[in-house]
């Protein structure tokens, strides 16, 4: 009973609160990093160096008026932000944050669920997030959001193809679809898959930028062009849910990249005996560290690059990333056969 | 105890709902949706058989069915768009010309 219900429930609560707090502070981190890049200070007023800023933001969004446009489709308008956020959150179910920890004499795995189609599960769940964007834009009954949501959904669907194709080459290398299995395969392999599949990592990261609507692919919410994108008509907490979902997705993309390419919870060079002392650092720390590194990359890129145009974005997705990903699969498969492993 | 029969009844019911949808609605898009429902009924059957016959063949066929559904949706929606562009309607009653 305890093993079946209580512990998973605790895990879920723990992960959800952890993720939500992480998202809040990711927003602060983004503002701070952007500010530092742009020679500013960023939020400084709420708490020392603005560390309480996220709480103030959330409070503000909570007490803001919640407006539903008169001509909006009421039900869909309400459902859309939820539909965006829920897939983003439930994707965390299969991500292994660490190997395992002992708590009160019980060994608790740091992955809520280790299912045999873990990677596919993430892809499937992520593909549902598009709905919220389309519906949010459509139900607002306004031109700019509609345009933006059409763009966004086309963008997500096209980059999903490239991203999923990179997964195939990783699966080929690892020989399993389970997230834990993939990390273990990297342990057995002795190197992170980043070094085995550098191209796949690059494609995955670019695709991830596009799938989370981050710069330089942040067209769906390009405020200079579309006044805020598909969530223009949203306000208050519903807007906050969209916001939350975007940052949750960033964390998802980074954690999946960490698991697939950066060895998950493993320390660097997991098999080198001389570096065994690295295991003294808890496994979840390594995971967090790597994820943060990738998140930093996200923010850095946002502060540096201009934005692509819609047709250029589509061209990159279909004419560059997808062919490269397919070629990568072919090469991986050929290598697998030739090396006989 | 859930037996094969339960699944067969479920899929029959789902198929029936799909048939009713095709027969009664005039919106072509809803008719296509009903066809998707029917295809899903078939898939439930296949998967249930695969489960009770202890063989994955049913699942393989379910994947083929999904393929067909994808193809059907693509072509069907293409036809709807082409039709809509000419007649500005998606009412099936007005789809009474072989060519224009």
């Amino acid at each position: 009973m305890i093993d079946l219900i209580v512990i998973p429930l605790l895990q879920i609560v723990f992960v959800l609160t952890g993720v939500l707090i992480a998202v809040m502070y990711l927003v602060l981190l983004e503002r701070k990093i952007q500010a530092w890049v742009q020679v500013r200070l960023g939020p400084m007023r709420v708490g020392p160096h603005g560390i309480l800023q996220p709480i103030a933001d959330v409070l503000k969004l909570f007490i803001k008026e919640d407006i539903t446009p008169v001509k909006a489709d009421r039900w869909v308008f309400t459902a859309a932000p939820i539909v965006v956020l829920v897939p983003a959150l439930i994707a965390f179910a299969v991500i292994p944050f660490g190997s395992s920890v002992s708590l009160f004499g019980k060994k608790i795995s740091l992955a809520i669920a280790d299912i045999n189609v873990g990677l596919l599960y993430i892809v499937a769940v992520a593909s549902l997030g598009v709905y919220g964007i389309i519906l949010g834009g459509w139900s607002s009954n306004s031109k700019y959001p509609l345009l933006a949501s059409l763009r966004a959904s086309a963008q997500l669907v096209s980059y999903e193809v490239a991203v999923t194709l990179t997964f195939v080459s990783v699966i080929l290398t690892a020989g399993t679809l389970s997230m834990v299995g993939i990390v273990n395969a990297q342990f057995n392999n002795g190197v992170w898959f980043l070094f085995v599949q550098p191209l796949a990592f690059a494609i995955y990261f670019i695709g991830g930028l596009a799938e989370t609507n981050r710069a330089p692919f942040d067209l769906p919410e390009a405020e200079q062009e579309l006044v805020g994108g598909f969530h223009t008509e949203y306000s208050g907490m519903r807007f906050a849910l969209f916001f939350l979902a975007e940052y949750t997705n960033m964390i998802i993309v980074s954690s999946v990249a960490t698991t697939l390419f950066l060895g998950g919870w493993l320390p660097p060079f997991p098999n080198v005996r001389a570096l065994a002392f690295l295991y003294y650092v808890p496994s979840w720390m390594w995971f967090t560290l790597k994820t943060l590194l990738l998140l930093y990359l996200f923010l850095w890129i946002r502060a540096t690059l201009p934005r692509y145009r819609y047709d250029q974005l589509m061209r990159i997705g279909w004419k560059v990333l997808i062919p490269l990903a397919i070629a990568n699969i072919v090469v991986t498969g050929a290598g697998k056969v030739l090396l006989g492993s | 105890m859930i037996t094969q029969t339960h699944y067969l009844v479920l899929s029959t019911a789902l198929f029936f709902i799909g048939v009713v949808g095709v027969m009664t609605r005039r919106n072509v898009i809803v008719i296509l949706l009903s066809i998707e429902l029917m295809l899903n009924a078939v898939n439930i059957n296949l998967i249930a058989f695969s489960y009770y016959l202890k063989s994955e063949i049913g699942q393989v066929f379910a994947i083929f069915v999904i393929c067909v559904a994808a193809a059907e949706a693509a072509v069907g929606l293409g036809i709807i768009l082409a039709f809509y562009r000419n007649k500005e309607t998606v009412n099936i009653d007005e789809m009474n010309l072989m060519r224009w």
């Binding site: 742009q38 700019y144 540096t304 819609y310 | 768009l81």
Partner: protein, 366 residues
């Protein structure tokens, strides 16, 4: 939007990327712009009519309010026009100071342009970098005349006061800083693939067409037409300095970017020459206390950061205010190229094109 009828989208007047209260009615075919209607007048304050009821000296302050990103250029244009009416000799030191102010103003205005243009295309960091440098220019202006935006920095016959002590040194120092920071913008933009992709081949206009449509300033020069009032009809002290006129060849958004970036360098070059050769002497000419120019009319243009700003003033010789006051605002004339420039491009390019012609709505609507 999928079917044959076009989608009409109203961009502005409340839109973050129209640089003020510009309204553009776009006819779209999918994402492609079929036609664009520019609707202006949301910021009309009647400056021209207002000027006909003011003293000649009071109008200087009104010219501040036209192009609020480049007030000094309008001040200069107006004062020189009146001086031309009065046939008034401006002391050489005043002319030098005016040149320095005009060129500082050009840098400040171009900084606003490069920042907002880059931000429209998504490079937010450039915007903040540019504003950081603009702050230095504003500090210099504040030191000179006490204002940071609407300077009212010139008088008919010269400048209101001599430069504060040490100001010239600080201007030179700013020139060094500016040259250095320019490299930062260049690393962020000039060879950036995305920037190239967004600006190359966008909003192309050929030289003859640009002339026909009445473009002036950097957009005209980017199309390869050598026309710069500073060289062609020198005013202030421009005939005494050496500087080049950067020219473009393709006439697209990227060329306009390059031309303006080069103008930064030329401006610091002019400022350096002017500060180093700053002659001694008075800074205000012998203008009468009550200005009442003889009857007549005159047109005088100078090169504002946006283009050719011209003043056409008629004096009846009796009253203490102009009989007719009319401005040729560069933003207004350049803006009429907008529909021509964006036709056939995508919605996202509208933003880039609005940015590239560098308009200030205060000047368009007056």
């Amino acid at each position: 939007m999928f079917n044959t009828d076009e989608l009409v989208i109203n961009m502005g007047p409340q839109h973050p990327a129209t640089h003020g209260v510009l309204r553009v009615v776009l006819k779209l075919d999918g994402e492609k712009v079929v036609d664009a209607d520019v609707v202006i007048g949301y910021l009309h304050r009647g400056i021209e009519k207002l000027s006909e009821h003011r003293d000649w000296t009071q109008i200087v302050m009104l010219t501040d309010r036209m192009d609020y990103c480049a007030s000094a250029a309008a001040n200069l244009g107006y004062c020189e026009t009146v001086e031309k009416l009065l046939s008034l000799e401006v002391p050489r030191r005043a002319r030098y100071i005016r040149t320095v102010l005009a060129e500082l103003q050009r840098i400040a205005s171009h900084l606003v342009w490069v920042g907002s243009h880059a931000m429209d295309i998504g490079a937010v960091t450039v915007f903040l970098f540019a504003l950081r440098e603009r702050e230095l220019v504003l500090d210099l202006f504040e030191e000179f005349c006490g204002a940071r935006l609407t300077y009212n920095s010139m008088r008919i016959g010269g400048v209101p006061q001599d430069i504060p002590p040490g100001w010239d040194k600080r201007v030179l120092k700013f020139c060094d800083i500016m040259d250095e920071k320019l490299a930062e913008y260049e690393t962020l933009l000039t060879r950036n693939r995305i920037w190239l992709g967004r600006t190359r081949g966008i909003g192309v206009i050929s030289g003859p067409e640009a002339v026909a449509i009445g473009l002036s300033g950097p957009p005209l020069r980017a199309s390869g037409v050598r026309r710069d009032v500073r060289k062609d009809e020198p005013y202030a002290a421009y005939d005494e300095f050496e500087f080049d006129i950067p020219l473009g060849s393709r006439g697209d958004t990227y060329d306009r970017y390059l031309v303006r970036l080069e103008e930064f360098r030329q401006s610091t070059r002019i400022i350096r020459q002017a500060i180093e050769g700053l002659p001694a002497g008075p800074v205000l000419g012998k203008a009468p206390r009550l200005i009442r120019p003889p009857a007549g009319e005159t047109y005088h243009a100078n090169e504002s950061p946006k283009g050719e700003i011209g003043f056409f003033i008629v004096s009846d010789g009796k009253s203490t205010s102009p009989y007719r006051f009319r401005v040729r605002p560069p933003s207004f004339c350049n803006l009429q190229a907008l529909p021509r420039l964006i036709r056939g491009h995508l919605v996202a390019d509208v933003i880039a094109v609005i940015g590239t012609i560098d308009i200030v709505l205060g000047e368009v609507d007056r």
